[in-house]
């Protein structure tokens, strides 16, 4: 009997789903673009929580080279955003990747440019979390087709993989950050203490010893290169120190350095500039070769101590140590400000406060008016001023020698020239030069009280000056003729003020004319005469020379130009 064959097919697959399979598995909650975005969001949240939930991590977490991490996050997020921009689909994946890219970019900018904020543990945690979130999105670059089993599993796998890698890495970096912070706090305490000692050593140097000028320059150089900026604790180091229980030691070291800097600003201990910028001789005028270095060093000292003081302003913070430190700093700053107020009223150091206050070159050196400067006291007892022409011309030599104090900007210069013996008291006033590099000072007024013996004679203790000599270098960019008028006007104003509005007799009607005055019927007539010709001091800088003589001592020619 022939066998019958049924060509029909026998169904073998009976375990088939309906069109809409249901289930709890996250892989089928949405399409991969959406589930990967959700996984990325979860990664961001989990990593942030992991890093910021603990107090230690929140205070101390730091990434090595955080800008690189943030930049990598931004690059990856933008790569995904741009590569997927032409894919069809709804908004959530686009919005998420765009938001992540924008956020990562902002983090990158903060890390590169953000200063104090760039060191925040929140920023560092954000950079790591953003990178992990961006990496989670990378599978979106894969060409995955609907028949691929990965379609349902790609997001859970990416989530698991990234968390599996990121959390241990975060933990490891966090541990390293705590150890680094401990080490950093210890090193900072040591360094602040060391720098405090160095500042004390420098400010204790005997600046007024002329024979140790080279040592003085070296000392000032030490102050310039003090690496305070790289060791200044920011608010996050303070947070870490507080968390580690070492903020008290850190504050003590900080206060020690602050005290040393404030002490270094004490006028009694600061280096002084008392040197002429120009030297006169029978061949003419020339620049003093020592002056640029000396002025740069003294100006640099003041500038640096001012910088140190400003840098030492403690960051704002909630810890008790920081609040106490802020109060202490304010008190110290007030003390310094008072000193600067006093300095601003001196003859020889009124140029220093702008340097210490850290006034920028753009704001200018804040010069005192010449007429005011000429009325500043020379000796501390306020008995003599540059405008006290009659008194100065009546100053016996032994009295004048008391003025020779470098701290007051004056020094004595005895010498012999030809058949004459000379003795001079030279006093200097300066203007700060902030715009140049390095900053320095320029001579503003040089005043000489000149004593001269008879021919082949010698000077006696009670000899009187033969003349007062003033040199006013013309500031760069100023018309010399105009400046001569300014100088003479300032001199007249200062003399009038010195002698309570006394009437001056002008030689002619021009502003730059000399003048005479007499303080009483029996007082000698004082004659003030500017030179007719503006001197070339050197290098194109000219100067205004003014002489003051009494009728008894007056001579038509200058007595000394050395």
């Amino acid at each position: 009997m022939a066998q019958t064959f049924d060509a029909g097919h026998e169904e073998t697959e009976r375990d088939l789903p309906g069109p809409l399979q249901s289930g709890w598995y996250p892989g089928i909650w949405a399409l991969p673009a959406t589930t990967l975005s959700a996984a990325s969001l979860v990664v961001l949240g989990v990593v942030l929580i992991f890093l910021l939930a603990g107090e230690t991590s929140r205070a101390l977490f730091r990434l090595p080279f955080a800008p690189g991490w943030a930049l990598a996050a931004a690059v990856l997020a933008w790569a995904v955003a741009l590569a997927c921009r032409n894919r069809p689909g709804r908004q959530p994946p686009r919005v998420w990747v765009l938001g992540l890219a924008a956020g990562s970019t902002i983090l990158t900018l903060v890390c590169f440019l953000g200063g104090d904020l760039a060191r925040s543990p929140y920023v560092h945690a954000g950079a790591l979390a953003a990178l992990a979130a961006s990496v989670t999105l990378l599978p979106r670059l894969l060409p995955l087709q609907p028949d691929d089993r990965l379609v349902q599993h790609i997001a859970p796998l990416a989530l698991a993989f990234v968390l599996f890698v990121t959390l241990p890495v975060s933990f490891y970096i966090g541990r390293r950050a705590v150890e680094d912070q401990k080490r950093r706090v210890g090193e900072t305490i040591a360094e602040l203490s060391r720098e405090a000692g160095e500042v004390r050593e420098v400010s204790a140097f005997p600046w007024n010893s002329p024979e140790r000028r080279q040592d003085a320059l070296r000392e000032m150089q030490r102050l310039q290169v003090l690496p305070l900026e790289q060791w200044l604790p920011d608010r996050y180091l303070w947070q870490g120190a507080a968390h580690l229980g070492e903020d008290g030691q850190l504050a003590a070291a900080y206060r020690g350095l602050l005290d040393a800097v404030v002490a270094g600003i004490d006028p009694a201990r600061t280096p002084k500039l008392w040197q002429s910028q120009f030297t006169g001789s029978s061949e003419g005028w020339s620049r003093d070769p020592l002056f640029p270095d000396l002025s740069a060093a003294v100006a640099g000292y003041h500038l640096r101590t001012g910088q140190l003081l400003q840098r030492l302003a403690p960051p704002s913070g909630e810890s008790a140590a920081l609040r106490e430190l802020a109060t202490y700093y304010d008190q110290s700053k007030q003390e310094v400000d008072k000193r600067l107020e006093v300095l601003a009223k001196t003859w020889n150091e009124d140029w220093v406060p702008p340097l210490i206050a850290g006034r920028g070159p753009a704001s200018g050196p804040a010069l005192s008016p010449l007429s005011d400067l000429l009325r500043r006291p020379l000796p501390p007892d306020d008995s003599l001023r540059p405008a006290s022409l009659e008194k100065l011309l009546d100053l016996k030599r032994w009295q004048a020698r008391k003025m020779a104090d470098p701290k007051r900007g004056c020094g004595e210069r005895p010498y012999r020239e030809g058949d004459f013996q000379y003795f001079r008291i030279d006093c200097y006033a300066y203007a700060a030069r902030l715009g140049s590099e390095p900053p320095g000072a320029d001579l503003r007024i040089e005043m000489r009280i000149v004593y001269k013996s008879e021919v082949l004679g010698s000077l006696e203790r009670s000899d009187l000056p033969t003349e007062l000599y003033f040199l006013f270098p013309v500031p760069t960019g100023t018309d010399p003729e105009k400046y001569r008028e300014d100088v003479m006007n300032a001199l007249k104003a200062a003399v009038r003020a010195e002698y309570q509005g006394m009437e001056l007799t002008l030689e002619d009607r021009t502003s730059s004319a000399g003048f005479t005055f007499q303080t009483g019927p029996r007082a000698p007539l004082v004659k003030v005469t500017p030179t007719r010709r503006v001197k070339d001091l050197s290098g194109g800088i000219s100067g205004i020379e003014v002489y003051a003589r009494t009728a008894a001592t007056g001579r038509s020619r200058p007595a000394a130009r050395r």
């Binding site: 049924d6 060509a7 029909g8 097919h9 026998e10 169904e11 073998t12 697959e13 009976r14 375990d15 088939l16 789903p17 309906g18 069109p19 809409l20 399979q21 249901s22 289930g23 892989g27 089928i28 909650w29 949405a30 399409l31 991969p32 673009a33 959406t34 589930t35 990967l36 955003a81 741009l82 997927c84 921009r85 032409n86 894919r87 069809p88 689909g89 709804r90 908004q91 686009r94 765009l98 599978p139 979106r140 670059l141 894969l142 060409p143 995955l144 087709q145 609907p146 028949d147 089993r149 379609v151 349902q152």
Partner: protein
């Protein structure tokens, strides 16, 4: 029908030119050529229409009815209609403004739709358009489609500039349960279905998926690549990145017992032979032109609702639930989770069908997955139904006396899945 209304002008819609036939051409056009005269409520007045013989069986059967008079497709179902080229030449010769972008343009995703005689290619294409008419009810594509996105373009040859056609009119026959006629060689048409999607960094830009469809004669596809047909084959299929091959599910997996009649078995043999021939010709085309690029193959197992299929579980789990409550499924598929769940199911069904092919005792069937592998990985097997064949048959056999207007609209099942696969292939849409 909108085309019956006299609309003399060409008008612009959304910066695209849409074509209306002039009244002189639309007047003689009459509907319903495929229905039996006694069952037609809206019987055509034109006596010529009475010459159109009745058809029976599955939609594909009629496509295969080689001896039947040709039914102009898809423009207007009238045998009186002048040849399409003539229409174009007489009606639009002076209206250059109706030109659209050419078919061959960069960025077009070429999706080829290929099958032998009577496998339901035209039904599938019309069902795709029907499914995408309403972006909110486009099944798995709803997640991606922008609003009011479907555009259909038509031309008679690829060198001509295509015209935009009104999609709702284009599928009028399909929607009205009118049997689509066989496409013969002289009535070949090129179509482009353009779907618009949101793209761009903020989702404000647009991108397009263009599905090129050569509504050609299945008979000619089976006949092979002749010298005069080679250019057409090349244009239609050579550069396609995604190929949708059509094969009736019941032909691949016929029910056992006496469910199939002798005619059905004979028809099955023809369909399988035709399918093999088409695949062979496509492979030859690639080999002749040294085409090495991978092609993603999708085997559209049409007529999955047909009771001649042995896969009753598949029908009951995959087709029938959708047919019974399409709204529920369409609404669910609009969501991201709906699409994801749907794709997961579709993948499982495709894998199950792969195993089903492997289990077939007929080597022509068990070897079929390998024959349609063109280097892009595992083929997709998508059981689908473009139209409920039983309803169509019963209506045409006179068992349904109601007017067509009383019939509920057709429910195409899973016809958008090949489009979604093509979208993923071309735009990596899942990621």
């Amino acid at each position: 029908m909108a085309s019956k209304e006299p609309t003399p002008d060409v008008w612009n819609d959304d910066a695209r030119t849409v074509f209306y036939l002039p009244p002189s051409l639309t007047a003689p056009i009459a509907p319903a050529p495929a229905a039996e005269p006694e069952t037609v409520v809206e019987a055509p007045e034109d006596p010529e229409d009475q010459k159109v013989p009745e058809t029976a069986g599955s939609p594909g059967d009629d496509e295969a009815g080689g001896e039947e008079p040709e039914i102009p497709f898809p423009w207007h179902p009238s045998a009186d209609r002048p040849p399409a080229r003539d229409v174009e030449e007489t009606a639009f010769v002076a209206q250059t403004a109706v030109q659209e972008v050419p078919f061959d343009r960069p960025g077009t995703t070429r999706v080829g739709l290929l099958g032998g005689k009577g496998v339901g290619k035209s039904y599938l294409f019309q069902a795709m358009i029907y499914r995408t008419l309403d972006g909110k009810r486009s099944g798995a594509l709803s997640y991606y489609l922008d609003r009011d996105t479907v555009r259909v373009y038509q031309t008679h040859d690829r060198k001509s500039v295509p015209r935009s056609v009104i999609a709702s009119e284009f599928i009028d026959e399909y929607r009205s349960w009118l049997r689509l006629g066989q496409t013969n060689l002289s009535r070949e048409q090129w179509y482009r279905l353009r779907l618009q999607f949101r793209t761009g960094l903020l989702g404000k830009d647009k991108s397009f998926l263009d599905v090129d469809f050569l509504d050609g004669s299945g008979e000619s596809f089976e006949a092979g690549i002749s010298a005069e047909r080679e250019e057409t084959w090349k244009a239609a299929f050579l550069d396609a990145g995604v190929m949708v091959f059509c094969l009736p599910l019941w032909a691949a997996f016929p029910a056992a017992g006496d469910v199939l009649s002798e005619d059905d078995w004979e028809e099955r043999e023809n369909v399988i032979r035709g399918f093999d021939a088409v695949i062979r010709h496509f492979r030859d085309l690639r080999e002749n032109h040294q085409a090495t690029h991978p092609v993603r193959s999708i085997l559209a197992l049409t007529m999955a609702d047909d009771r001649r299929s042995a896969l009753t579980t598949l029908r009951n789990r995959w087709i029938t639930p959708f047919l019974e409550d399409p709204r529920l499924h369409l609404d669910a598929m609009r969501t991201a989770s709906g699409v994801a769940r749907y794709l997961a199911s579709a993948r499982k069904v495709s894998e199950a069908l792969g195993r089903e092919f492997d289990a077939s005792q007929d080597p022509r069937i068990s070897g079929l997955p390998e024959r349609i592998d063109f280097g892009a990985g595992r083929s997709w097997f998508v059981p689908l139904s473009a139209i409920d064949g039983a309803t169509l048959d019963s209506w045409e056999k006179g068992q349904k006396k109601r007017p067509r207007s009383g019939l509920r609209p057709p429910v195409p099942v899973h016809v958008e899945l090949p489009l979604l696969v093509a979208l993923c292939e071309s735009h990596n849409a899942l990621m």
